[in-house]
Amino acid sequence: MVSGEGKANSIDTIGKISSDLARPVLAPGKNTAEAADGIRETATRSATWRVLDYVSPLVAVALVIMLWAISLPGINIRAMNDYGLVSVLPPAILIAMALLTLSFSLLVTRPRVPAFILVAHVIALIFIVHGTTAMLYELPRYSWTYKHIGVVDYIMRNGSVNPAIDIYHNWPGFFALGAFFTTITGLPSPLSYAGWAPVFFNILYFVPLLFLFRTFSTDRRVVWLGVWFFYLASWVGQDYFAPQALSYFFYIVILAIVVAWFRVARRPAGSSLVPLIRGINGTNMPVGSPTPPSPPYPGGTLGSPPDKGDLGGSVPNQSFTPPSPSCQGGTISILFRRFLDRPYIDEAPAVAGAPLQRFGIMAIIILVFFVVVSSHQLTPYAIIAAMVSIAIFRVCSARLLPVLMVIIAGAWALYVAATYMNGNIQWIIQSIGELLSNVDTNVADLSQASAGRVFTAWVSRGLTATLWGLALLGAIRRFRLGHRDLPILLLAIAPFPLIATQSYGGEMIFRIFLFTLPPMAFLAASAFIPSLGQAISPRTSAALALTSLALLGGLLFAYYGKESVNFFTNNEMQAVEFVHKTAPNGSLLVVLSSNLPMKYRDYEMFTYHSLTDNLDFNRGQVWIGGQPPAGQAGVAGRTANRISYITYLMSDLKYHGAYLVVTRSEEAYINLLDIMPKEDLTSLEQALANSANFRLIMSNSDAQVYVLADDSQGAANQ
């Protein structure tokens, strides 16, 4: 891959991959007569047919896009129910998605499909799945998007960060980039483009995914199917305008670079596991002789297996030399050597670049990792987990890399982000090791949930289980065919220990799924195409098509399942904008829940209070003075308690003004997550409208803004 000295040895990995990708893959076992028939058939095919072969899939993709585009205007997103966006999608869009999936499933197993046709399918899938919401919604999805936009707005206004404000100012890399891009393009705010962030980021992941999977295998079919499965299973919605989305791109790039350039083709003798194994065996016998250097294969890197070519199938590991009897250790060490002391990834040998070039690549890894460290709190540790796992098993030749990464991440946390860490280090340390508690926080309680929410939750779990099950099946199939995919398995498993570190706001399990997704998607694809050159039977093709359709169906419910709370309207934005313009600096902005388009500008000038963050408020057990008021009971009593509590909050004289903002999306959030009984919410809204304590100062069909009736400041600012 890297030229310079030793080019003949080093170019082979991906250079060979690219030539392999262009080659047809034939089924092993076909005799020469069959092959000759195939050649004759190819020769007799007219140029017209060949052009049709190319053009027809592209026409199909174009038709699918057209079908999708003409169906969009008829969608009424306000009619959405608890099943999410799928409940309002017209059949034409569902048919378009299904046709695209079937087309790809049929094409990907064929040997002579040009890459640009597969690229067209993947890009079309990204646009349809992620562009639908960008086209339909008036504003960007997710309330978190607006919080991130607010930080970008702060940097654009002030040209600096203030670590005392919140956590984002302690990890500002992504926001500085956003401020730079927004300003130089002349856009007023990231609001202009944040809605398209999922499309942008998913396209961004495409090239590094191809890069990563091509280091796993030279079989173009499994590479492309892995990419397809990645997009079909990516349901956790971490691709919006957020540091996680950008850091995830760097995560995939770092994995790909390390596996491509710093992977050792075989585990050297004297592995760090050997003493461990010896200890387990309880024997002091030397464990295995040093593995003899593998023969230099013609045209390949020293120690790498030969290119199996088109008819290679699963070639047994020719370089594996069993330890001599005189040097054998215990049973476990023999098993370990037999199963793992082989080339880890059969098809793609490791690259040995010139030292200077490897230094350059390593410098890029460190630079990119530094950006991840400066942008996101969790991703650096996912990268470190992956690097540590492959370093322990000596899959990676850069064994000091994880040490360097720990130093960089630690230095940032303790020095640059010291302001945040000083106030939070205690609970961060306490949550480490609280495995059961962290898992419990990550699992949603569905006991009171609506049927739609229960359904989408179980579909999400089913989609995850299906992908992981397919990955297990793929790993087993590859193992039985002679592959030893230790790096892939390690990368797939490495993020799981993160669950023991903390709950990450109840999202750790989703992030773990996200970090395991690339290797899992590749292994899942291997369940259908386990080895280079293996023919795909019609039955397997049918199973592949059905599985792709099932994953697509799961994705639609899992990814779009909460869209009733994720979309916002211009009316809601109008109300929030009204508050921003009206409220004096230092005002208190009270909201029912934090699910609204807020904090996107001037956010440091206000204090925010989300009422439903208080469990007592949700139960209606909030009262002033420590004694429950006598008289009313039931819904009316709880509503009276809540009204008096809100009045008390907004009367605080330390604020220069107090505003209560009630929007459609806040209500949808409370109803979907069953934070408060529906009748309680309706009663509260009616009480606010009728209460003598509050005065409505702004209203439209989706939002209302209240101030206290005796708030002279609020009245003066109207």
């Binding site: 891959m1 401020a179 130089i184 002349g186 856009l187 091509r214 791109f249 950006v371």
Partner: protein
């Protein structure tokens, strides 16, 4: 050589277009187009080309990552230094890009090692022969 020239031209043209669009106060769509062509690829590609990565997909992936990383680091450095100026960030990034592009041309390729077993002279003699004009001459020379 051809690919090198193409990439150099693409990077140089994108950098120039970016500079003109931003410093010339062009309308937003022009700025967006220039930024979309320059920012995701060019700064990284100008440097990654120095590493002579043969595979296009690997080169592109590393170049995109490096481009975004450089832009983030430069922007963040100016934020922490309280020297925030998006135009200055862009100037530094264009400077890095130009430096990388120039370095590609300045850096000479490593000459291939000559065999030291005496066959070099024989090869030289063979090279000095006039080129074969037709099949019969080819046969006459004893090939």
């Amino acid at each position: 050589m051809k690919a090198k020239l193409v990439w150099t031209l693409v990077i140089a043209a994108s950098a120039a277009a970016m500079g003109i669009a931003i410093y010339g106060n062009m309308p937003v769509p022009v700025r967006l187009l220039a930024a979309a062509c320059f920012l995701p690829f060019c700064p990284g590609m100008a440097i990654v080309r120095l590493l002579k990565i043969e595979d296009g997909v690997a080169e592109l992936a590393v170049a995109i990552a490096l481009s975004i990383a450089i832009e983030t680091i430069v922007a963040m450095a100016l934020v922490y230094a309280r020297l925030w100026s998006p135009n200055l960030v862009l100037a530094i990034i264009i400077g890095i890009t130009v430096a990388g592009t120039v370095a590609q041309w300045v850096r000479r390729p490593v000459p291939p090692k000559q065999p030291s077993d005496g066959k070099a002279a024989e090869r030289l003699v063979r090279l000095c022969k006039p080129p074969v004009r037709n099949y019969w001459e080819f046969r006459r020379r004893g090939n």
